[in-house]
């Protein structure tokens, strides 16, 4: 074991920078990938939300339609249930 001070110092710096950079970069990359996943998910989530909203709206109008149908049916007592399309 023939270490000189300078070599140890240089080796330590190298090790410190090396480990710090490797961990640092891969941690930042990890964060960026989470962000990417979140960001690229936005349209999908928005679409999903829009779909949910649309479905809710559709369900509401269906309910109204059903109510109307029921009312009409109740009035006429001679109709068939119409199957409403979403």
């Amino acid at each position: 074991m023939t270490f000189d001070q300078e070599l140890i110092r240089q080796g330590l710096t190298l090790t410190a920078i090396g480990i710090a950079t490797a961990f640092g970069l891969l941690i930042v990359m990890m964060v960026l990938i989470y962000l990417m996943g979140w960001a690229t998910g936005i349209p999908a989530r928005r679409a999903a939300r829009a779909r949910v909203a649309a479905e809710a709206a559709a369900a509401e109008s269906r309910d109204r339609a059903l109510a109307a149908v029921a009312a009409v049916a109740a009035l006429s007592r001679s109709g068939e249930h119409a199957e409403p399309t979403t």
Binding site: M1, T2, F3, L7, Q10, G11, T13, L14, T15, I17, G18, I19, T21, A22, F23, G24, L25, L26, I27, V28, M29, M30, V31, L32, I33, Y34, M36, G37, T40, G41, A44
Partner: protein
């Protein structure tokens, strides 16, 4: 009849010494392992052939004579070594282009925390680096080239060795590939020693589906980030990401196919035979070689341990525990180390299915080693 004596003197038989004979047998041994044991055949077969032709006396296939004197004197693998490695170092980047075009980053995107395991497994590099310094036999540049064996990544080892210690290139590359071919013997004992049966039986949820947008964003984002911080890793990182973008974009199938087939095959033929030709008897028959062989083993072992231990450490804070066996895949040795994680997991409990998860640290380890190589080049 001076011609006859000249001819006899110019024949290899009269110039053969026992060390060359041993090296030819070593070359035949590599070929045997490649062909009969199917150990890393794409590297060890051409390397073995290169070892043989470099040690047949006066064949001159690995000779490079610079300048006008090189007229009809340089051998084909000498030319490849000079321009492909020692002078311009452009062959490893070409291989990385092909690797990028063959790599699927989905496991990393689906489970980004596995990137940390790829970082932890670089521990082996630094342990071997200090070990090499401690022997007092090596310059600090050589110690870095020996350390990078622990990156368990052939082209990175070749690239860094060509930069910092071209005289060691043959030895570090061949040792790296040999241990990569032997991870099935090196890693399992350590994996069983450092994990409990209960840990090895942790079942992980299958990785989530990854969208095309994420796959398209990763290469440019990672490339810009890493090269901004460590510009000297650009030859490896940029080529890896360019190749991957060719693949994931889907709009340049001809380029993606050529990068991952013909181009990488041609580069492999010439690079691997050339690496083999660097194992000349005078370089190998040296106490240093045994030391590097030992340090390389230490590097692989410590990388494995680093990945395993960080996985266990992360489990202390994570709500959804990961199976620590995937940590050892962080050393790279793509894809063998990931397969080993999977097999050891299956041994514990057949419901443990780790292949997809272990590919995360596996490819992260490629990036991690390239980053460390870039740091070494920056500072040495």
């Amino acid at each position: 009849m001076t011609e006859i004596t000249d001819f006899l003197n110019s024949s290899g038989l009269t110039n053969l010494d026992w060390r060359a004979v041993v090296m030819v047998l070593v070359g035949l041994g590599f070929m045997y392992l490649a062909i009969s044991r199917d150990m890393e055949p794409y590297e060890l077969l051409p390397i073995g052939l290169g070892v043989i032709i470099a040690n047949l006396p006066l064949a001159g296939m690995a000779l490079f004579v610079p300048g006008e004197m090189g007229h009809q004197e340089s051998g084909i693998f000498g030319v490849v070594f000079h321009y492909g490695l020692s002078f311009w170092n452009i062959l490893p980047p070409i291989i990385f282009l092909g690797i990028g075009a063959m790599t699927d980053f989905s496991p990393v995107i689906a489970n980004p925390r596995t990137l940390l395991l790829g970082a932890a497994a670089q521990l082996g590099i630094f342990v071997a680096f200090w070990g090499a310094l401690a022997t007092g036999l090596f310059e600090i540049q050589e110690a870095a080239a020996i350390g990078i064996i622990g990156g368990a990544d052939g082209p990175t080892t070749i690239f860094l060795s060509a930069k910092l210690a071209p005289e060691l290139l043959g030895i570090t590359a061949v040792i790296a590939y040999s241990y990569m071919a032997s991870v099935a013997f090196i890693q399992p004992p350590l994996m069983k020693l450092l994990t409990t049966e209960k840990e090895r039986s942790i079942v992980m949820r299958p990785p989530r589906e990854v969208s095309r947008a994420e796959k398209l964003l990763l290469p440019p984002v990672a490339m810009i980030l890493i090269i901004l911080v460590v510009p000297r890793s650009a030859p490896l990182i940029s080529m890896l990401m360019i190749g991957n973008l060719f693949r994931e974009s889907g709009v340049v199938p001809r380029l993606a196919n050529t990068a991952s087939n013909e181009l990488v095959n041609i580069a492999t033929i010439f690079l691997m035979i050339t690496v083999g030709t660097q194992l000349s008897a005078e370089r190998v028959f040296d106490a240093e070689t045994i030391v590097i062989l030992a340090l390389g083993l230490v590097a692989f072992a410590c990388g494995t341990v680093g990945g395993l231990l960080l996985a266990k450490l992360m489990n202390l804070v994570l709500r959804e525990k990961m199976n620590p066996l995937i940590g050892s895949a962080g050393v790279s040795a793509v894809p063998m180390a990931a397969r080993i994680s999977h097999h050891i997991g299956q041994e514990s409990d057949p419901r443990v299915y780790l292949l997809g998860h272990a590919m995360g640290p596996n490819v992260a380890g490629v990036i991690g080693s390239a980053v460390v190589a870039g740091v070494f080049i920056s500072l040495l």
